[in-house]
Amino acid sequence: MFIARISRGRTVREFVTAVLFIPAGFTFFWMTVFGNTAIFVDTGIAAGELGAEVARDVSVGLFQFFTYLPFTGLTSTLAVALVAIFFVTSSDSGSLVIDTIAAGGETETTTLQRVFWCALEGLVAASLLLAGGLGALQSATIASALPFTFVMLALVWALYVGMRADLAQREAHAAVPQVAPAYPASGLTWQRRLGLMLHAPSEKETLAFIQKDVKPALEQVARELTERGREAFVEEEESGAIALTSPAEDMRNFVYGVAPASQKLPAFSAFDAARSGLRYEARTQFSSGSKGYDIMGMTRDQIIHDVLIQYERYLLLVQSTASDWSRRRPSMTFRPRRKSKGF
């Protein structure tokens, strides 16, 4: 899970090559250094004694090994400290992973929960050690690996299906002529446009804009769509984000979302740089996850116009590949779930 969490925004290729080769490469070097030195020591000065010790108890292997090297006390102490700290960090992070899965993917959970899992881990380890059930547990783990192997094969297949669908969708996208989105503040005097460009809206202004202009515009479109027999509704979130959704069967829903987003202000002078404020935007979001843009400053009519452009584009996409679509990419409905990230 850790490797997944740090890899958002990487490509599949970067991810796979790095995950396969970087940790393994480090491990190889580590194992060569310790393993080959151990064999060297065992066949040399230790004359087989190191091997005999390891055969008796694997856990003493490292410390026995250090006795054949200089600074034994220091290295052994360091090794104990290392294992202890790895213990703390893996218990800490393991409970985090478990906690996230048990919370249905939510990463912001309560402290009490994490303490619970942390303590349970210690309890499990302790009682198994005490009862000598560690061996039983290991056997059980191997036995349970069997069903999980099938789950993982399903994961691989699902990845293939998902990626193929994404590629098909991307090709379909490329086939549809790109329609330029409405330009914020077009039609205003150039002085006002310039003013808008240089003005850095605050979070409050952005939220107010979404409430005052975006919401009525989306509601108007939703009403009109519903009247024409297409189901459509507008949803709001605590974060201030708002979305017009028109659900569709067998294909992606149409979603036109607007969420407050922030960006570091570009600094044009040293003075600005020192203040380094944030510029808030009202960014669009679509069900395909395609690039959003800032609509801050659009009038209500312009927003409606922009929604229609996107809707037209969506219809084109859906119709142009309609026959293909249902076959190649069955209902990959985008159901936004997470609160923390807008939709």
Binding site: F2, I3, A4, S7, G9, R10, T11, V12, R13, L20, F21, T27, M31, T32, V33, G35, T37, A38, I39, D42, V54, A55, V58, S59, F63, Q64, L82, V83, A84, F86, T89, S90, S91, D92, G94, I98, A103, G104, E106, T109, R114, V115, G122, L129, L130, G132, G133, L134, G135, A136, A140, T141, I142, A145, F148, M152, V156, A158, L159, V161
Partner: protein, 343 residues
């Protein structure tokens, strides 16, 4: 009180009760449970050992195909998402992911054990040396990481590109659609939690026996459960404190320092050991590894049965009896998750 918890109730309570049942069995009938599970284990390995090896081969082939084909350019996130971390720090994090209790525990132990009891060669011979290092590399090499890569890829792809929750069930989305929120999804997540829990517990068990061995060497503490239990309690308490007080940053610094110290330890061994030989061995080991990669992937000794394969390659790793390949099968990524999430 439960209102304050952020949990997915079926998964949370399901996982907790399964863990409790296992724990009770392990405590009340350690002997009987051990017999039962090891009987189950050997019958599963006898009938399905080949499947584990084949599955791991498939995982490796699949992630390589994903990355080198057209799919490789798809992003783990919307098309316009940018990586959160710079390339160098990302690589460093993956590097850290490779490090953990297992590496400390088996660094000397695994090569030595194989050296003295190799799968086919004469124990203690030059051929055994060669085999020992190849087998060690195989167990710690890209196969194990292919398993983590499958789970990580699935989590990241569906979590970040489809905005599904960051849980294992989301990986089945293209196959199950909204049914991932039903019983199948719960079962998969519960399975993942239980596997992770026991994986970490075994890893902690390992760590504690090694700390005990080290203390025995340093200050003469005997190796006994009554030393190990307080150790588990103490270290778990540390982990819990770090969770409660939100010392996440502290833990991160700790684990980064730990990594640096581990690397220094390795460099120390590299220097006081047969330095030039080690570099030579490293190159040789890589060569042997690459040379036998394909054969070892599928080598189950079908024609010359040896108990070795069940004992090592197929048996649980990270845990007590070494070889971590299929332990990885049972609780992938989380296993890596253990050392991984830490930094």
């Amino acid at each position: 009180m439960f209102n304050r918890f952020v949990i997915n109730p079926p998964v949370f309570f399901g996982a907790v009760s399964i863990i409790a049942v296992f724990l009770l069995i392990g405590i009340v009938f350690p002997g009987r449970a051990g017999e039962l599970f090891s009987a189950l284990q050997s019958s599963i390995l006898a009938s399905f050992g080949w499947l584990y090896l084949l599955a791991v081969g498939i995982f490796l082939a699949a992630v390589l195909l994903f990355s080198f084909g057209q799919f490789g350019r798809l992003k783990l996130g919307p098309d316009d998402s940018e990586p959160e971390f710079k390339y160098h720090s990302w690589v460093a994090m993956l590097f850290a992911a490779g490090m953990g209790i297992g590496l400390m525990f088996y660094a000397v132990g695994e090569p030595m054990t194989h050296f003295l009891a190799p799968p086919t060669a004469e124990p203690g011979s030059i051929a055994a040396m060669r085999e020992a290092m190849t087998v060690t590399f195989f167990h710690w090499g890209i196969h194990a990481w292919a398993i983590y890569a499958v789970v990580g890829l699935s989590l990241a792809y569906f979590g970040y590109r489809y905005n599904l929750p960051l849980t294992i069930r989301s990986g089945l989305y293209p196959l199950l659609k909204d049914r991932i929120n039903g019983p199948i999804g719960h079962a998969v997540d519960i399975f993942a939690i239980v596997g992770t829990m026991f994986g970490i517990a075994t890893s902690l068990g390992l760590g504690v026996t090694q700390i005990n061995a080290g203390l025995n060497y340093l200050i003469g503490l005997p190796i006994a459960p009554w030393v190990q239990l307080p150790l588990i309690a103490l270290i778990t308490a540390f982990a819990t404190i770090s969770v409660v007080t939100g010392l996440d940053k502290g833990v991160r610094i700790l684990s980064e320092t730990n990594l640096v110290v581990a690397v220094l330890l390795m460099i120390f061994v590299l220097i006081v050991g047969p330095t030039a030989d080690l570099f030579r061995d490293f190159v040789q080991n890589i060569g042997l590894y690459l040379d036998t990669l394909v054969l070892r992937t599928f080598n189950i000794y079908a024609y010359e049965p040896t108990p070795w394969i069940d004992g090592w390659t197929c048996s649980t790793g990270h845990g007590g009896s070494p070889g971590r390949l299929s332990s990885a099968c049972s609780s992938p990524a989380f296993h890596a998750g253990a050392p991984c999430v830490s930094s």
